[in-house]
Amino acid sequence: MAAALKNALAHPIHSNKRNSQYRPPPINEEQKEREKRFVLDFQNKNISACPDTNTSDVKERALGAASKQLRVQDFDLVKTLGTGTFARVWLSRFRGQTSECKSKVFALKILRKVDIIRLKQIEHIRNERNTLAAVAGHPFITTMITSFSDKDSLYMILDYCPGGEVFTYLRRQKKFEPETARFYAAEIVLILEFLHDVKGIAYRDMKPENILLDAEGHVKLVDFGFAKKLLNKETYTLCGTPEYLAPEVIRNSGHGTAVDWWAFGILVYEFLVGQPPFWDKNPMKIYEQICGGKIRYPQSMAPDARDIIAGLCKVNPAQRLGNLTDGSAGVKNHPYFKTIDWDALYHRRKKGPILPEIKHAADTSCFDEYEDAPEKKSVYTSDMAEKYDKEFKDF
């Protein structure tokens, strides 16, 4: 790799004395070209799909560093891939006539500052950017290549996962074959092991909707909106998805990485059964069931699957598998995973059980159709910018 390239994002132009008022920084065309190159080259490396190829960028902290040069005008927004509460994710590519610009696509996640403020999600958005930067390069986590911002919005350039959501396949198949479920579950164990043990990060929103598939059928975890670095202290803010909330989150008694093991148990159950163990039309009834912790297992579920779910879905986090003295090793060593070769899995030696039907790099046939962005748009006023822009300075 050329030296210039390595340095492309390693030294983002950061002004320390940034004024709280948004002022577009002057564009340095040379630096901008280097940054474009970096983003484009990321894909070449990523396609080889070996987890070790990205390490030098990760070490130099180039991957995931903020860009002060890129603008949304540099991109063509091709198609909406998905929408969340306040984000819209676009299939996008660099504007330009070269075949490279045309062939290389990204997922561009756009968040409007007004919406973030209205929904009181400033802290979560900051956590999302910073945890994504901290974990960039893991084989089963979507990589944030870089981020940037303008007057109204925040942007994250993510590697495009063409397979779409595991959720879509699960609903289509009603439930997964035991081996399919085990494969996805095992890759997710590797993600949680890395997030918890290496990074000290709780993810806090595990569900099939947030697990995408790449071209080879491996999982890619997206949406780090609730992820948080914990520094060995418990945290209290309620967040997650109703059916997947852990009892200690509902009761507000303080929670940590153990909530991800709870949700992982719910996930394995939903993979095998087709619906989560706790459900009711009335969300309060879901929460009551969760705190009661009584799970019903279908006859068809294998005993080791039942056992791992029961161990993961312990109401008391001090008894929960994954949160005990042996940590995630306790999960990996559970009989449910006895057929898994963890090293081969990490190195992606085998393709996944479901191979997305993808005809070309920019194929979006695995994604649902979304309507265009709604018209009514509240504006991010200069008063708001005065007050809040300092909160977004990491982008």
Partner: protein, 374 residues
């Protein structure tokens, strides 16, 4: 009628979600008891991960629907939820005290029974419960026809009815429409002792129904989410820090890293004793370790006559040698007045930190005071 949740359960997961009445999912009590809560940790130690787990996995439920998904399961994409960020260590909260609104003894006991069937309240400790009830504030509804909450609006308060009756309307579209018809169908009426709107105690979800007064001079009590969740957070936070401090003073455990201490603090379970109760009995096998959280206790030894040989007070601990070996208890500890202790057993300890011997070995364990060896 005590109706503690919205009928039809408004589904806040998406617009247009339609509601039925209540929970139509078939219940099977017998099968339920086979679930995870009666799982493998019934006092004996259980190791996951070994090829031969010592306990059988939970049995399947015979009542489980076999023919695919129950019709009512909502298979749509699910949206995330989150509440206001709560941070016990941030400065603005340093002097936070929950609001307190005085109530008569009668009012308090009515409120207590009104919320007793609600799982969010029924699991509260006595102290938390008093703070929560104290924080409920009176909300007078002077006239008939006042909408207390409006379907589709943001929800911030939970309500208990003190006086008057309130009609609950649900519009199947998920939001109230224009005109009197817009409220949708009358689904129920809630009177004194009833409550509504408790999902607002979790996070801000759109209201699932419209609630309207049916007579003049009605009275409600209401509680907002941030107050409720802060009360829960603050007491959990204080309890954890108190346990960590107590644990820090136990010589046997003073080689624990702070994060190990907080894991143990997590595993401590409160237990209460009445005056005269025996907390541990001389000669019994020792299994649990105790921290005295409040009250006093006395230590008796059979070879030392009828008088107590020692007193324990708040912050003292006993039974720690049980974590190390299975020797019988060397003395009895009896509650003097009401006592609250926090308990962790040997298996609970080992599950979190591994064999106790290893931890002890970091320490010179001969330093442990003789008199402490209960």
């Amino acid at each position: 009628m005590a109706q503690s949740t919205f009928p039809g359960g408004g589904n806040p997961f998406g617009p247009g979600a339609s509601g039925g009445i209540g929970n139509v999912r078939e219940e099977d009590e017998a099968a339920d008891t086979l679930g995870s809560s009666t799982g493998p940790f019934g006092g004996t130690s259980y190791t996951f991960g070994g090829p031969s787990a010592s306990q059988p996995p939970p049995a399947p439920s015979s009542a489980f629907p076999t023919g695919g998904l129950p019709d009512e399961y909502n298979t749509a994409r699910r949206t995330s939820v989150s509440a206001e960020s709560l941070n016990p260590t941030s400065e603005e909260n340093d002097n936070w005290k929950p609001p307190f609104h005085k109530k008569t003894a009668d009012q308090l006991s009515r409120l207590r029974s009104a919320v007793s069937s609600n799982f969010l309240f029924s699991a509260l400790e006595e102290e938390q419960s008093s703070l929560v009830l104290g924080a409920l504030v009176e909300n007078n509804i002077p006239a008939k026809g006042i909408k207390v909450i409006t379907q589709g609006d943001a929800g911030d308060y939970f309500y208990v009815v003190e006086r008057g009756n309130f009609d609950i309307y649900v519009n199947p579209s998920g939001t109230i429409g224009p005109g009197p018809e817009g409220m949708g169908k009358l689904v129920t009426t809630i009177g004194p002792g009833g409550s509504f709107g408790e999902l607002a105690l979790m996070y801000n979800a759109p209201r699932a129904a419209t609630v309207i007064s049916t007579e003049g001079s009605s009275t409600l009590w209401r509680l907002d989410r941030v107050t409720f969740r802060r009360i829960l957070m603050d007491s959990a936070f204080q309890r954890r820090r108190m346990y960590e401090t107590f644990l820090g003073e136990v010589p046997l455990l003073n080689t624990l890293a702070p994060y190990e201490r907080s894991k143990i603090a997590d595993a401590l379970e409160p237990r209460r004793f009445k005056s005269g109760d025996t907390i541990i009995r001389e000669g019994d096998p020792g299994e649990d370790f105790f921290l005295l959280e409040s009250g006093e206790a006395e230590v008796y030894k059979s070879d030392a006559g009828p008088n107590p040989v020692k007193q324990y007070k708040k912050g003292d601990y006993f039974g720690e040698l049980a974590l190390l070996d299975d020797k019988p208890r060397a003395a009895s500890v009896v509650a003097k007045g009401d006592v609250k202790v926090a308990v962790v057993g040997k298996d609970g300890f080992q599950r979190l930190l591994g064999p106790v011997e290893g931890i002890m070995r970091r320490n010179d364990y001969s330093k442990v005071e003789e008199t402490k060896q209960v």
